[in-house]
């Protein structure tokens, strides 16, 4: 009983971790290559989900929805890059924070105008309906398994691109030393547009995949953004490998903490006190984890080479 429950929660943790990785990957690359802090990255995740709502309404087919929403997320990401973000690459971090904060205010409210404030949803694909039975009368949804698999495939693909292709080599070089890369004749701005569009698409993909599980509502990207920040700070800014491991770690710690912290406290506290303390401690757990990592390694677990 407890072992099955534990297994289910581990799966839930992996699922959160995979979603976080998809968002954090773009964030960490954009920061690594261009030293640009993009708070609006969480909004890309939200837009992915909202675009999926619309495209699902039009097509009624989940897979067509994924393709269309990804294309639209890419276009929107590039539009934002051209209209706003590229004017702030040379500014200090504070200006970037404020400008991208402005983008968040605009898009969160814009979504509320276009799609309304109430939560929306759309179903996952037919083929992935149903559940895998894990114990009597309780099954784990196939869609969630599929989400974990899709996320892992994305992570593997991303690793291949970054570690094994020429573009990946340029991205790594850009993260290590953009000035030198530029001096060697590479158009860093163009490279950055590629990275940026790609990151926007990954975050959008995470949003599309999350839509059938979580409710689609304005501001849904904000919480994910902050978790993604925790992930890339733990993993080391600019490092894909660090983002991947940290995302899984954060996903697991958060999910398992929320499910079991109260029970753990019940071992040595009054049940009523445990019910009070458990959830409070559980919600702090990943931040404590982050603080612990930073205390020993102020640049995260796997800092990108060349960056201190």
């Amino acid at each position: 009983m407890t072992a099955t429950l534990f297994a289910v929660q581990v799966l839930n943790g992996l699922q959160l971790g995979v979603l976080l990785f998809l968002v954090a990957a773009g964030l960490t690359l954009v920061f690594g290559v261009m030293d640009f802090i993009n708070l609006a990255h969480g909004v890309q995740y939200m837009l992915g989900a909202y675009l999926a709502v619309t495209f699902y309404g039009l097509t009624g087919n989940f897979f067509a929805t994924v393709v269309l929403a990804l294309a639209a997320a890419l276009v929107l990401g590039l539009v934002l890059e051209v209209l706003v973000f590229r004017h702030f690459y040379d500014r200090d971090h504070l200006d970037q924070v404020l400008a991208t904060f402005g983008v968040i205010l605009f898009l969160n409210e814009g979504v509320r105008i276009v799609w309304g404030a109430s939560p929306l949803s759309y179903p996952g694909p037919e083929i992935l309906q149903g559940a895998i039975p894990v114990m009597d009368g309780f099954g784990y949804p196939v869609y969630r398994i599929a989400l974990i698999v899709a996320g892992l495939i994305c992570a593997a693909g991303l690793w291949l691109v970054v570690a094994r292709t020429k573009v990946g080599m340029l991205i790594r070089a850009g993260a290590a030393n953009p000035a030198m890369l530029s001096a060697l004749g590479v158009n860093v701005r163009q490279l950055f547009m590629v990275v940026f569009g790609f990151g926007a698409m990954l975050a959008g993909f995470a949003g599309v995949m999350a839509g059938p599980i979580f409710s689609v509502e304005p501001g849904m990207g904000d919480g994910v953004l902050i978790l993604a920040f925790v992930v890339i700070v733990i993993g080391g800014i600019g490092s894909i490998r660090g983002a991947f491991l940290a995302a899984l770690l954060v996903g697991l710690v958060d999910t398992l903490g929320r499910s079991f912290m109260t029970d753990i406290f019940k071992l040595f506290l009054e049940p009523s006190a445990a019910n009070q303390v458990g959830p409070a401690i559980a919600s702090m757990l990943i931040y404590v984890l982050m603080a612990g990592v930073l205390f020993f390694r102020p640049t995260g677990l796997f800092p990108a080479p060349g960056r201190a």
Partner: protein, 321 residues
């Protein structure tokens, strides 16, 4: 320099005089509600002042400043829930609680620089937010209604809105005075020196980390005071006080007013809340207008409102960097 100082004193005195005269004037014109609105503005001015101390003078971009406000507010709210109404106890408690949180989180955050610092303060702010949300004994997500205001030595004088207004004004003036003393002191010079060149300050023999930590705790305590006042003003506390958007709002106030200028922070708070009020009267979706406006302000109007009062405005460009 001497000219600048007197100019600053003039503007400070003018602003405080306007605040002091506002209640009777508003009353005379039958706009008594303005007193209430202005109380809130002054409370946020205190918070903006505290943020300006570390952001403007110390270049520490804290994105979790609203947490200190929330902790101060909750200290008052939770005390009231346990029937402790004495403001001379609860307000220092609020400041101490916020200061302790600043000490613990600052000790970790200040080990990091730049963008790490931004993200970590943001994360700690969220930690406080989620912790408050899970305090089910004190209202959880829904917040906590406080059935009255703090007493002063057993006297419920603050129940009167005008009395509260002047109490807030006195707090603002005190914070302003403390902040200006700090900025002008040797300590303040060290903080500004670390902002300009950390390595050089360390080489000269100053412990940058300790100075920054003390400034961080001081700012946290001041924001805690703002929180305690806010709880009294609204007679309500909720986790929303600590949301990261609130922290963003505070940064906007400081930048809008002009970083590294104390009256700028106060002007920024006034301007931001007025702008919010005007835009919100225009449409409920005011953020759709404010978002792009913010981008334009950051793009074209660096230096903020304070620059308009400075003679040698543009030459100070490098300071914000």
């Amino acid at each position: 320099m001497r000219d600048l100082l007197t100019r600053e004193r003039l503007i400070t005195a003018a602003l405080l005089t306007v605040f002091a005269l506002l209640p009777p004037v508003a009353e005379a014109f039958g706009q008594g509600y303005l007193t209430n609105v202005a109380s809130r503005v002054m409370i946020y001015a205190i918070a903006a002042l505290s943020l300006d101390l570390i952001l403007g003078y110390g270049a520490m971009v804290s994105f979790g400043h609203a947490a200190f406000i929330g902790i101060g507010a909750y200290a008052v709210g939770i005390s009231a829930e346990h029937n402790l109404w004495e403001g001379t106890l609860t307000i220092p408690m609020a400041m101490a609680a916020a200061g302790l949180f600043a000490l613990a989180t600052g000790a970790i955050s200040l080990r990091t620089r730049g963008v790490y610092f931004i993200m970590i303060t943001l994360a700690f702010g969220q930690m406080a937010y989620y912790t408050a949300s899970s305090l089910s004994a004190y209202g959880g997500d829904d917040g906590l209604t406080i059935w009255g205001r703090s007493e002063v030595l057993g006297n419920p004088v603050l129940e009167d809105d005008t009395a509260l207004y002047f109490f807030v004004l006195i707090c603002l003036a005190l914070c302003w005075w403390v902040a200006s003393r700090v900025v002008g002191s040797r300590f303040g010079r060290v903080i500004a020196g670390v902002r300009e060149n950390r390595a050089r300050m360390s080489a000269v023999g100053f412990d940058a980390y300790r100075h920054q930590l003390v400034a961080y705790v001081l700012a946290g305590m001041m924001a805690g005071l703002a929180g305690a006042l806010l709880a009294n003003h609204a007679e309500f506390v909720s986790p929303a006080y600590m949301s990261w958007q609130r922290s963003g709002d505070l940064i906007i106030m400081v930048v809008l007013g002009g970083m590294g200028s104390l009256y700028g922070a106060v002007l920024g708070a006034v301007a931001y809340l007025a702008l919010e009020d005007v835009l919100a009267g225009f449409t409920e979706h005011w953020r759709v207008i404010f978002g792009p406006l913010l981008i334009l302000i950051v793009l074209y109007a660096r230096g903020g409102l304070a620059r308009a009062f400075r003679r040698e405005g543009p030459s100070r460009e490098g300071r914000d960097g």
